[in-house]
């Protein structure tokens, strides 16, 4: 049975196990020039767990499509995908920090007190105001657009931008 944080094995964040051998205990930057951005260079490795070709030349078309479905975003064109790659590289800078033996923070708020509210009813009764936000309503119900539409398959779209 699968355990762990994400149910999916792919993980865009750099993983400690990816540290190059021969550099024990210190996960240094995996390529020269952090945050250099740009796409297309085959000499550097992108800092995420993917196939070898992805490490070389960025997320595959299948990966892009998968991301688009997950997050319901549309990378749309070469420029969008390039921005994605730049984001990945930017995040790669995290690997410059040696975090061995350091517990990750839960959030930047973690030393604050979590405020506990008393179990009183103090809100609600604003259906009219809320329903006004919706394009379509039926008798005090929200009517959403038809949900979870299957996105058009890759072949049905225009040519997929390749990095």
């Amino acid at each position: 049975m699968k355990r762990g944080i994400s149910e999916v094995s792919h993980n865009l964040w750099p993983v400690a196990s990816d540290a190059p051998s021969g550099a024990p205990g210190r996960a240094g930057p995996r390529r020269d020039g952090c945050g250099s951005g740009g796409a297309g260079s085959t000499s550097r490795e992108l800092p995420f767990a993917g196939s070898d070709s992805e490490k070389a030349s960025g997320p595959s078309p299948e990966r892009i499509e998968h991301l688009e479905r997950l997050a319901l975003v549309d990378f749309r064109n070469r420029e969008g995908v390039a921005r994605l790659q730049a984001a990945i590289e930017f995040a790669g800078q995290l690997r410059a920090v040696d975090t061995d033996g350091v517990a990750p923070m839960a959030s930047v708020l973690e030393d604050r007190c979590l405020y506990l509210r008393a179990d009183d009813v103090v809100e609600g009764s604003c259906a009219e105001a809320l329903l006004q936000n919706s394009q379509q309503t039926v008798e005090e119900y929200f009517v959403p657009p038809p949900g979870n539409i299957t996105l058009p398959k890759q072949s049905e779209q225009g040519p997929v931008p390749k990095s």
Binding site: L109, L130, N133, P146, N148
Partner: protein
């Protein structure tokens, strides 16, 4: 949206959650040594001769709504039957700029549940976002506790019933993997005529929902791929769905197929599970820490900060002291205090209000607990069930029953007469047992002289039987007793009749 719910994940053993059993069954599967057993009328349970034995592993995800006035993260009311979206606050509608604010009562409820289920309560627990897109989840994510929930590693011990009788023939323990606080989604109604969905963000339906995770494997080998069966809205269907899914997986694998890690629904009419998988592939919830909520810190007597605001601090020890008596403890106490059988204690606790009823009767009667229990569990409960009534709807008060049992105990009436009085009391015409007895002349004939006279009269009328007895035929005595009883209109104790007759026959 966002009514507060507790989610318990129970891996490993298969069981059915049953909190009001009338005829209880517990479904179980033992991973070792081998045979899958279940109460199912589906395809043959016996594996082919020579085939490996199969073991099933079932995990239940139980979503239970917390009993609170307001929601987990907002101050909106939690209640049934409110007009759609009338209870929704800006946060529940996921308007930008709104933030979750944790309800203290929900934290206490989670701690109490964790303690009752023998869990380790985590003094520090974290909130996460679980992302998926659905119309009844306007934020696009649900706040839950995936990484570090509020309680872990508990257990629940329960007993199995056999057939219709609740006689605990075996005790089983199931592991509780974790208990976590999480938001509930809204409610969606499908309007098929207009092919649209209607969303009500008050809260989702049902105070209790269960999803079952099922996999099969050969004992000794690694666990198999699991499927998740959702949309189970009754205990009966839960059991059927699990039964079916176990069989389906075994057959699939035996035929050389593979089990997909997918979500399935249970078709109640067909009695089978069907794949719910959409074409988009596996769901990825992209868990991330909830940035708007710091870690939830709980304290105990030792760690309690000195100058703490009591409103802002949840003390595990304080909650532990206030745990109500747990059912297993209550049952043990009842058995010891009243000398009743363990199975009786189960029934007393499993029927709302029955324990209180029994205890009230016990307070007001001299009758033996064993006799009282008999009346309560067979006669009283039988009457309730036949008429589909709850204990609270009983036309008979515990005091009336106590009075009746006292009269029976002091032999004012016979057992058959008592049952007759019970029937009358059930009509609830405001009469006391005493009144009914007098009106219907049900008192036992106590007067020795009167009894002797009647016996004499009967003997006089049946000379042949008298001769038979004097010649040694004892069976005829019973016949004579019967005749005397009829002559008294059922109001004489057979034992006394026998005594008198035997004396008179000498």
């Amino acid at each position: 949206m966002a009514a507060p719910i507790l989610r318990c994940a129970r891996p490993g053993r298969c069981w059915s959650l049953d909190y009001r059993p009338r005829r209880s069954r517990a479904l179980f599967a033992e991973p070792v040594p081998g045979r899958v057993r279940g109460q199912s009328s589906a395809a043959a349970q016996e594996p082919r001769p020579g085939a490996h034995e199969w073991a099933a592993v079932v995990g239940l995800e139980i979503h239970a709504q917390i009993s609170s006035n307001s929601k987990l993260f907002s101050g909106s009311q939690v209640t049934f039957l409110a007009p759609p979206n009338s209870l929704v606050s800006f946060f529940d509608a996921s308007l930008p700029g709104t933030l979750p604010v944790l309800n203290r009562r929900c934290v206490e409820a989670a701690v109490m549940t964790g303690l009752a289920l023998n869990c380790t309560v985590n003094k520090k627990s974290l909130f996460d976002r679980k992302h998926y897109f659905y119309a009844d989840l306007p934020a696009g994510y649900q706040i839950t506790q995936q990484r570090l929930p509020i309680a872990v590693n508990g257990s629940l011990t329960y007993s199995l019933g056999v057939g219709a009788q609740w006689s605990p023939s075996a005790t089983k323990t199931v592991r509780i993997k974790q208990i976590q606080l999480e938001q509930d989604s809204g409610k969606s109604l499908h309007d098929d005529t207009r092919s649209q969905t209607l969303i009500d963000l008050n809260r989702a339906e049902g105070q209790l929902r269960v999803d079952a995770n099922v996999s099969v494997h050969h004992p000794g080998e690694p666990l198999g791929v699991r499927t998740e069966v959702k949309n189970l809205n009754s205990i009966r269907f839960l059991a059927k769905a699990i039964d079916y899914e176990i069989q389906r997986q075994i057959e699939e694998l035996q035929n050389g197929g593979k089990i997909l890690n997918e979500t399935r629904a249970f078709d109640e009419k067909l009695g089978c599970t069907v794949s719910m998988r959409d074409k988009e592939g596996k769901q990825d919830y992209r868990f991330m820490p909830e940035p708007n909520l710091p870690p939830l810190i709980l304290y105990d007597a030792e760690s309690l900060p000195v100058a703490a605001d009591p409103q802002q601090v949840v003390n595990i020890d304080w909650i532990r002291e206030r745990l109500p008596e747990l059912p297993s403890v209550t049952r043990g106490r009842l058995v010891e205090q009243y000398g009743i059988l363990p199975e009786h204690s189960f029934v007393l606790l499993n029927e709302d209000g029955l324990l209180e009823f029994f205890q009230t009767v016990m307070k007001e009667t001299r009758a033996e607990p064993k006799k009282v229990i008999g009346w309560i569990l067979t006669i009283f409960l039988g009457y309730l069930k036949q008429r589909n009534l709850a204990v609270s709807e009983s036309p008979l008060s515990p005091s009336s029953l106590a009075e009746l049992l006292n009269l029976l105990d002091s032999k004012v009436i016979s057992l058959p007469a008592a049952k007759q009085v019970f029937e009358e009391l059930w009509q609830n015409q405001g009469k006391t047992p005493g009144q009914i007895i007098r009106e219907k002349k049900l008192e036992l004939l106590q007067n020795q002289e009167e009894l002797e006279e009647i016996c004499q009269a009967v003997l006089a009328k049946h000379p042949q039987q008298v001769m038979a007895v004097k010649n040694g035929n004892q069976k005829v005595v019973n016949k004579l007793i019967g005749i005397v009883r009829r002559a008294t209109g059922g109001r004489a104790d057979p034992g006394r009749i026998k005594q008198i007759l035997e004396k008179q026959l000498q």
